[in-house]
Structures are given as structure tokens and as C-alpha cells.
């Protein structure tokens, strides 16, 4: 049993000791959740099923069930997708992984250091910096897309990797979360002890404090990863060269060409499926970290 799941089961046990529940309200609760499970999963199921069909089968066969040669059609579609326009889709996947993976990793370290300093040290301008960070949380990233484009075109950096990568590193919400987590999970006495042992402040942060903040760091990483992976306006406005597109922008571009090139529909559908798989894997794999870290943002 993981540590994150432990409080849940404890809570459940405590509940079940309560008075006996009316059978009707149990049934009603299960019914509500069952109906909404269909609502949430049917579109994804449809996507999975449709990606195993040829272009003509999409309309001609039962929409929510497989055809007899589903498996072979799926692999035909998948090979077609990866080979179309010299493997453009693979390039998009790699781009997204770079923008979101490297961006979130660096961004998390940067946000964690800043939030940690705000929580654990007293220095001049600390409150001012924190207030600026908080205002940054309330200014949405998309409102900055056009001004960023204007600035990057001044220095001739639009239509480059950097134009999407660099702005994605900044996460004021990450700093906010890191400050809360650092204040709650890194005891001051421990830092004192590290100082007595002669460890430098920066070294203490990377060897001791980051371990204590690990669940928080995973949470910050995941949400920044999703934010960059899903970001649409910034790449839309910055990038012209298809080879630099992240996967969302690429699929958007293909989708808007379907009326001229109908065979793209199959690739858009299977491409959509392939593009959500990494995120689902990341969330399932790191579940025990983020599910314990999620609530802390609202503590204050």
C-alpha cells in the first residue's frame, strides 16, 4: 500500500463505521456516477474504436464497436500516420516531448528554488516578490502570447524552438505551490542541522530539501507539463514551420485541411489517440505523487 493511498482507506473505514446507509441512496449514488462514467469515457472509447477503422468504415459500421479486421486496420493506420509526409507526426511528438518534458523539468527546478527561498529565508523584497508572483498567477499566459510574439520578432526569434520553449519555463503558480510546500514540509531545524554540518545553502537545497519536497515537485512538474503540452495560442502565433509544431498544433492544422484532403481524417483520429497516450501514462504512473499533492494549493 502506498503512503498516499493510506489516508484514503483510513477515511473509508471511518465512514463505514457510521450508521447503516439507505439502500436507495446507495443505488442513486452509483447510478449518478455510472451515468457520468459513460459521459466521460464514451468519447475516448469512440476515439479508440474509430482509430481501428478505414476512412469508409467510419460512417458505414457500428460507431462504438470494432470491425472484424480492426487490429490489422489499426496497425495500417498507425504506420500510415507515422509515414505520412516523411514522418511529420513523429517529429511533432518529439517536439511536444521536448517543449513539455524539458520545459516542465527546468521550469519545476526554477520555480522550486524561488518558492523555497520565499518560504525559508527572510530577505529584503521577499513580500514584494511574492506579490508579483501572485499577480502573475492571475495574468493568464494566453494574454501574453501576442506581446511575446512582438518581442520575439524584434530579435528575429519567432518561428524557432526558443520562441515556444523559453516562455514556457515561467510558472508563477509553480512558485506559489513550491512556497506552500516548502513551508510545510522542510523543517527549519533540519536546515540548521545541515548548516552545523557545514553544508552550503544551495547544496542543502539540492540534497536534502528537494527530497522532502518530492511529491510537491512531481505535482508542479505534471501540471506544468500538461500546461505546455496543451498550450495552443503561443505555438499558433509563433510558428510557421510545420517541422517545429507541437503535436496539438499539427493535428489542428491537419484537421482544418480535412475538407480538401479527406484521407487526413483517419490520421487526425489515430493521431489524436496517440497524442493523449503519453499524458495518460504520465498521470497513471505518477498518481501516488500528485494525488497527495493536489490539495495543498488551496491550503492558504
Amino acid at each position: 500500500m502506498t503512503t498516499a493511498a493510506a489516508p484514503l482507506t483510513a477515511a473509508e473505514k471511518a465512514h463505514s463505521r457510521g450508521p447503516r446507509q439507505n439502500v436507495m441512496s446507495r443505488a442513486a449514488a452509483m447510478l449518478v456516477m455510472g451515468v457520468f462514467t459513460l459521459y466521460f469515457l464514451t468519447p475516448i472509447w469512440w476515439l479508440l474504436v474509430t482509430s481501428t477503422k478505414t476512412g469508409s468504415e467510419i460512417t458505414g459500421t457500428a460507431p462504438l464497436w470494432f470491425t472484424p479486421n480492426s487490429i490489422s486496420t489499426f496497425f495500417t493506420n498507425l504506420t500510415g500516420l507515422f509515414q505520412y509526409q516523411d514522418g511529420l507526426f513523429v517529429k511533432w511528438l518529439v517536439n511536444s516531448a521536448l517543449y513539455a518534458g524539458a520545459g516542465a523539468l527546468l521550469g519545476t527546478i526554477i520555480a522550486a528554488m524561488c518558492g523555497y527561498a520565499l518560504a525559508k529565508y527572510e530577505f529584503k523584497g521577499r513580500e514584494a516578490i511574492f506579490n508579483v508572483v501572485l499577480s502573475g498567477v492571475l495574468v493568464p499566459a494566453t494574454a501574453l502570447a501576442l506581446p511575446l510574439f512582438l518581442i520575439f520578432s524584434e530579435v528575429n526569434l519567432t518561428n524557432t524552438y526558443w520562441a515556444v520553449f523559453l516562455p514556457s519555463l515561467v510558472s508563477p503558480f509553480g512558485v506559489y505551490l513550491a512556497r506552500i510546500y516548502a513551508a510545510a514540509s522542510v523543517p527549519g531545524e533540519l536546515l540548521e542541522a545541515a548548516r552545523l554540518d557545514g553544508s552550503g545553502e544551495v547544496r542543502t537545497f539540492f540534497t536534502v530539501s528537494t527530497r522532502l519536497m518530492a511529491p510537491a515537485l512531481v505535482t508542479i512538474f505534471l501540471f506544468q507539463f500538461v500546461a505546455i503540452w496543451n498550450n495552443f495560442f503561443l505555438p499558433l502565433i509563433m510558428l510557421r514551420d510545420q517541422a517545429l509544431f507541437p503535436v496539438t498544433l499539427g493535428l489542428y492544422a491537419w484537421n482544418s485541411q480535412i475538407s480538401q484532403i479527406p484521407e487526413l481524417r483517419t490520421y487526425v483520429i489515430i493521431g489524436a489517440l496517440v497524442s493523449i497516450v503519453p499524458l495518460i501514462i504520465a498521470f497513471l504512473g505518477l498518481q501516488r505523487f500528485w494525488s497527495s499533492g493536489l490539495g495543498a494549493g488551496s491550503v492558504k
Binding site: 457510521g18 516578490i129 508579483v132 495552443f232
Partner: protein
């Protein structure tokens, strides 16, 4: 908030390890190392764009005669006058406000209901429901819009019986078709935030309430909901910000529906104006939008905080 003042390090410490004098200087250096990377990036990619957009929004393009070269000159509030006269822009603002007034409460109401059910003793298979409801959050807005675009379309939808009768993509319904996509993606995420804060409530409180004869419904209304209000406020602020920024879903649905104009939401108006290209006016739109978002979420935060603390 617990903080450690490095300057207050006991003198003993310095005596024990003379190698590392714990002066203010080493602290200051550490703080600089920690804060500088974020500060630099924030200045370059957050503050500078806002200032630059403000400057751009105060400029205008002037031509010497009909065929003269265009030249940027100071235009004062010319662009802002244009913004305030721009009916399409204000129609788009009205549209997202209407969207937000309906969609945000519906979505958060659903999220709260699901979180309370997950936290109640009524359900079996909580782990499954938690994951199933959260799964759409892994679907980017563009992809969700493509998926639902197919599901809505009269010819391709698996629910053809419904979509051939009701056209979700025509002018009167498409706003709510978008609302459904946004709801579908974000309910589970908001549910988990509220659920996580429900789990943080000590169970002794419930046991005490039960001893006093409180029913599950009473516990939910009187204890759980008030205690998770900060989480609900957090989700509300992010939903309000998200609503004003709507772009990916409507822009993607444009290839499924002709009812979505090129200025359907404020951000679409920014994008369309920038593609003309009329950067000065687009910059003014951006400034107005960023300011409006900031004020709205700030006012909402302050208003609800006062209510909670009372």
C-alpha cells in the same frame, strides 16, 4: 508562515564550524542563486511583454500620402478608442461572460457533487471513478474539440439519431457545445482538487457530528462544504481565467461549424487582428483582456475571502 531567519543563527554554530561563517552574505548569495533564474525569466517573458504590449498599444501606423511608407507614430489612446468602438470585440467579451456565468457554476457544481460522493460511504469502486472522471484532463483542448467536433457532426456522429435532429454546431447552440467540451475536460480535475481537500478534513469531526445525530446530508452541507470552500474558490478563479482566455476549442471547432466567427472570443479577436496584421490594435486588445482578467479574478478572490473570513 514558518520562516527561518538565517541572521538569527546562534553564535555557537559559527564557533563549531569556523570554515563556514554564517554571515548575512552567504545567505544573501544563496537567496540570489535561488531567486535569480525565476526573476530573470519572469522579467523577460512576463513583465517585458506586458510593458511592450502597452507601448505598442499607444502607437499607430501613419502613411505619408496614399503610397508613402507606413511609419509608427505615437497615437495616444487612439487604439483604445478603437477597442471601445469595436462591436465585434465587445460581443465576444459578452459571449465569454455569458459562457462563464453558466458553465463555471455548472462545472464546479458537478465537481463538488462528485467529490462529495467520492468522499461519502455510499460508493464502491472509488478508485475507478476517480480515474475515469479525471481521464479527460489528459486530453488537450484541441484534441477534445476535434473529438467532440466529430461526435457533434450530423454525418459522422455515432449518435446520428440525435445529431441529425439537433444541430449542436449551429449559431444558437454552438456556444453550449463548446461549454460541454470545456466541462468534459475540466470537471474531473476540479473534482480532484476539491476531493483532496475533503480528504484533509480530520475524520474525528464527522464522528463527533454523528454522535450529535447529524445525517450524511447534514454533514455534507454543514461541515464538508464550508471546510472545502477555499478549494472551491481556487478552482473558480482558475475557471474564470480560463473562460476569458477561450481559444483552442472554438478555433478548432471552426472547421466543423461555420457559426464560429473569426472574432468569436476575445482571444480569437486578438489572433485575427494580429494576422491582418494590425499589431497595435491587437496589442490594445491584449492589454484590455489581461487587465480585465486580472481585475475580475482579483475582485472575485477579495470578495470571497472577505465572506469566508467573516
Amino acid at each position: 508562515m514558518a520562516t527561518v531567519d538565517q541572521a538569527q543563527t546562534p553564535p555557537r554554530a559559527a564557533e563549531k564550524s569556523p570554515r563556514t561563517p554564517h554571515t548575512g552574505r552567504s545567505t544573501r548569495r544563496a537567496v540570489t542563486v535561488f531567486v535569480a533564474p525565476f526573476a530573470v525569466l519572469f522579467l523577460l517573458f512576463y513583465a517585458a511583454p506586458i510593458i511592450y504590449a502597452m507601448i505598442q498599444s499607444l502607437l499607430m501606423v501613419e502613411r505619408q500620402g496614399t503610397f508613402g511608407a507606413p511609419q509608427q507614430v505615437f497615437g495616444g489612446f487612439t487604439q483604445y478608442a478603437l477597442v471601445f468602438q469595436d462591436e465585434a470585440f465587445w460581443a465576444s467579451v459578452g459571449r465569454v461572460l455569458l459562457f462563464g456565468v453558466v458553465q463555471v457554476p455548472v462545472m464546479l457544481g458537478m465537481a463538488l457533487l462528485f467529490a462529495l460522493l467520492l468522499d461519502s460511504p455510499l460508493l464502491k469502486g472509488k478508485r475507478f471513478f476517480r480515474l475515469a472522471f479525471f481521464a479527460p484532463y489528459a486530453v488537450p483542448g484541441v484534441i477534445a474539440a476535434i473529438m467532440w467536433g466529430f461526435l457533434y457532426s450530423p454525418s459522422l456522429s455515432p449518435f446520428g439519431a440525435v445529431t441529425s435532429e439537433i444541430n449542436f454546431l449551429d449559431g444558437s447552440l454552438v456556444l453550449w457545445a463548446i461549454a460541454n467540451i470545456v466541462t468534459w475536460v475540466y470537471v474531473g480535475y476540479n473534482m480532484l482538487i476539491i476531493y483532496a481537500s475533503l480528504l484533509a478534513i480530520p475524520t474525528e469531526i464527522y464522528e463527533a457530528a454523528r454522535l450529535d445525530g447529524a445525517s450524511n446530508t447534514q454533514i455534507a452541507w454543514r461541515i464538508k462544504i464550508p471546510l472545502v470552500t477555499p478549494a472551491i474558490i481556487l478552482t473558480a478563479v482558475f475557471s474564470i481565467i480560463g473562460t476569458l482566455q477561450l481559444l483552442a476549442e472554438p478555433q478548432t471547432l471552426r472547421s466543423f461549424s461555420s457559426a464560429i466567427s473569426s472574432t468569436y472570443t476575445p482571444n480569437l479577436a486578438v489572433y485575427t487582428t494580429a494576422s491582418i496584421p494590425n499589431y497595435n490594435l491587437a496589442a490594445a486588445f491584449s492589454v484590455v483582456l489581461a487587465l480585465a482578467t486580472f481585475i475580475l479574478s482579483f475582485v472575485f478572490l477579495k470578495a470571497t475571502q472577505r465572506k469566508v473570513s467573516q
